[in-house]
């Protein structure tokens, strides 16, 4: 294979995953949290594709496509929730959405 070895791709994937995690943990707007979640998923996808190339087996790519479909569905539902919350005039702040507290 030309270009960097597989390991470098994995490093990039790790970076993406960590960055996404950071976003989920640090941001207060649910919209941004969803976006960060997308980044994490993409990082995982990159890892999957990388290993597919490494093994020479397209299963990884199939998996990545499935992940993409699921991510899309999840974004749909998540955005629907956010819109419903906004319609109820509730603050879009993850810290304020704590009705399920014990």
């Amino acid at each position: 294979m030309q270009g960097p070895e597989v390991a470098w791709y994995l490093v990039v994937a790790a970076f993406l995953f960590a960055t996404g995690a950071l976003g989920v943990l640090l941001r207060r707007s649910p919209l941004i949290v969803l976006l960060s979640l997308e980044i994490m998923l993409n990082g995982a996808n990159l890892a999957l594709i990388t290993f597919a190339r490494h093994q020479g087996d397209e299963t990884g790519q199939i998996f990545a496509l499935a992940v993409m479909a699921v991510a899309a569905s999840e974004v749909v539902v998540g955005l629907g929730l956010i819109v419903a919350i906004a319609r109820k005039r509730i603050d879009l702040d993850v810290d304020k959405l704590n009705v399920l507290r014990g």
Binding site: A21, V24, L25, V33, V94, D95, L97, N98, V99, L100, R101, G102
Partner: protein
């Protein structure tokens, strides 16, 4: 004969069950008749057994019958065993005979009471329990009967259960009896371990060389006897037991139950004979009790209490006799005492019933004019009590006193005490007679008696038993006149051979002294209360001590009751509340606090949960890598 013995035992039980199960469908009168009939049936069966036994030769007069094997542990067998022998038949006759008369009397006495059925059920239960006790063939059945009579006594003392004093008296009687039950049980345990059997008489051959063991057993049995028979130191329950109806006092606390202790000693005399010190202790306790009770009876103002202390005193005589080894004499006195004591109680009951349940002798004064036949009956009973010939007590009491003579210095003391007792008996018995039945009627009497003059002294059911008992108190003693003819002692000889047989001179001496002292006692009572020539001496201290019954109740209160209560309160404060309650509460509070603490993890914030997931992910990755 065995069948008859079983019928004698079971008939009152059947009556109890019938009255209990039939409940309201049985009229109150019918319950009374049923109970009376059952006890009469018992008496008839007892007579049959007696007749059959009499027909046999003296050596073979012992039959046992075991119906059900209860415990079978290796070599130890215990069953429902009854024993028919001279001693048990003697007691069966007394219990069922006198019991029949008293239950019949109750029909009239308790007439009109709302809970008459319950009363007769309890009375039948009592007769059954007492018969079980005397017919028992082993110590376990005897203990069963022992406990049941204690129960019946409790139920009957507290019969009028809306009276707090009655309830308290019932509890007191039961608890004090329980002390005796406990010591008896301990004695039985020792016997089980040692003899592997509890059947009479095999259980008693403990054998020499076990000195302290036998003493323990004898002490345990004596403890039970002392509790049941209200001797010192467990005597305080008997006067309070007078809270029950008068027939109850007559049957249970005069004629039968309280004499069970004497029966026990006579029945288990082989054990006592192997522990002579304990036997001497029994005699000493009897003597002390008879003296103390006689003194207290001098100042009592409740008619039933005087008679109760008299009972205590006379049982002291029986204990004295049994402790001295004069078993036949003690049992004979038991029989005559049953007659005249029941007579005294039932006659007192007629007076109480006629005077609206009043029992204070100052208020009852002078009622003899209105109730002449009752007066005569009471006179007969009192004469028998003091032991004036030809009445019953003379023949039985003097033999006991005579038995004390052959025993060295200890016997001498007992002899003197017994004689002092006869003097006191004369004084208190005739104090009661003169105050209640002689003299001018008090205001109270005049008020109440005019209503009853037209209906006779009482219903037939009440006067007839009194009449029968009066006759028995006259002729009952004629069955044995110690020096000359003694069928009672001969009858009981195979079972309980006496170890003290006073000689004729000793008998005569004792009789003479006793008679003289008795008569002088009567004379003193006449002077004080009859003719009122002397005034009653007033010694403040003595009066107070006697009125407080020698401060036994107060002593027990301080020595036993208050420390127990303090202990209980202290335990509650220092142990139960902090440790147990505290630990339970602490446990609960701890769990609650734990839950509250754990609850704070549920912040409701998504970010917290995600952080938790991320952190666990970090840790798990390390673990994963390290493990692989």
């Amino acid at each position: 004969m065995i069948t008859a013995a079983w019928i004698c035992l079971v008939a009152p039980l059947a009556a109890t069950l019938a009255i209990t199960l039939l409940g309201q469908s049985l009229s109150r009168r019918a319950a009374g008749y049923l109970a009376t009939a059952s006890v009469l049936g018992s008496f008839a069966a007892a007579v049959v057994v007696f007749a059959k036994l009499w027909g046999e030769s003296p050596d073979s007069r012992s039959h046992a019958s075991t119906v059900w094997e209860w415990l079978n542990a290796g070599s130890f067998h215990v069953g429902l065993r009854i024993l028919v022998d001279p001693l048990s038949v003697f007691m069966m006759l007394i219990v069922s005979g006198v019991g029949f008369l008293i239950v019949a009397y109750s029909i009239g006495y308790m007439d009109g009471d709302d809970e008459e059925r319950r009363y007769f059920a309890y009375m039948a239960l009592f007769v059954f329990s007492m018969l079980l006790l005397v017919q028992a063939g082993n110590l376990v059945i005897l203990l069963a009967g022992w406990g049941l009579v204690g129960l019946s006594s409790y139920l009957l003392i507290g019969f009028w259960h809306d009276r707090p004093s009655a309830v308290a008296a019932a509890k007191k009687a039961f608890i004090m009896n329980a002390i005796g039950d406990a010591t008896m049980a301990l004695a039985i345990f020792i016997l089980i371990q040692h003899r592997q059997t509890l059947n009479f008489p095999d259980a008693f051959a403990v054998g020499p060389g076990h000195g302290w063991l036998v003493n323990l057993v004898a002490l345990g049995l004596l403890g039970g006897a002392v509790a049941k028979s209200a001797q010192i130191p467990l005597q305080t329950w008997l006067p309070d037991a007078m809270e029950g109806p008068t027939p109850v006092s007559a049957l249970i606390h005069a004629a039968t139950m309280v004499t069970a202790g004497v029966y026990l000693i006579v029945r288990t005399h082989p054990v006592f004979e192997q522990a002579p010190r304990v036997l001497e202790l029994a005699a000493g306790l009897g003597a002390a009790t008879l003296l103390m009770a006689g003194l207290i009876a001098l100042v009592q103002t409740d008619i039933k209490r005087v008679i109760a202390y008299s009972t205590m005193s006379q049982i002291g005589y029986m204990f004295l006799g049994a402790g001295l080894g004069a078993y036949g004499n003690a049992m004979f006195h038991l029989m005559t005492h049953a007659f005249f004591k029941a007579l005294l109680f039932l006659a007192a009951g007629i007076v109480i019933h006629a005077l609206a349940d009043e029992q204070d002798i100052r208020k009852l004064a002078g009622v003899g004019g209105a109730l002449p036949w009752t007066r005569r009956a009471f006179l007969i009973g009192s004469l028998a009590l003091v032991g004036i010939p030809p009445f019953a007590g003379f023949f039985s009491k003097d033999s006991i006193i005579a038995s004390a003579l052959g025993r060295g210095w200890y016997g001498g003391i007992l002899f003197a005490v017994a004689l002092a007792g006869t003097f006191l008996t004369g004084v208190y018995a005739f104090r009661l007679y003169f105050v209640v039945f002689r003299g001018e009627p008090s205001a109270f009497v005049r008020e109440h008696v005019t209503e009853h003059e037209h209906s006779g002294e009482g219903p037939f059911s009440m006067t007839a038993p009194v009449a029968v008992l009066a006759v028995l108190s006259v002729i009952g003693g004629w069955i044995q006149f110690a020096p000359v003819w003694h069928p009672v002692s001969d009858w009981l000889d195979p079972v309980a051979p006496p170890i003290a047989t006073p000689s004729n001179t000793e008998e005569a001496l004792a009789s003479l002294f006793a008679l003289l002292l008795g008569l002088s006692g009567i004379g003193v009572a006449w002077m004080l209360y009859g003719a009122r020539r002397w005034s009653v001496p007033r010694y403040a201290l003595g009066q107070r001590v006697l009125e407080h019954k020698f401060y036994f109740d107060e002593a027990y209160d301080i020595a036993l009751y208050r420390p127990s209560v303090a202990l209980a309160v202290g335990l509650k404060r220092w142990f139960e509340d902090p440790v147990i309650g505290g630990s339970i509460k602490e446990f609960a509070t701890g769990m609650r606090d734990l839950a509250l603490g754990t609850r704070r993890i549920q912040t409701g914030l998504v970010r917290t949960y995600v952080l938790a997931i991320a952190a666990s992910l970090v840790v798990l990755m390390v673990v994963f890598v390290a493990v692989r």
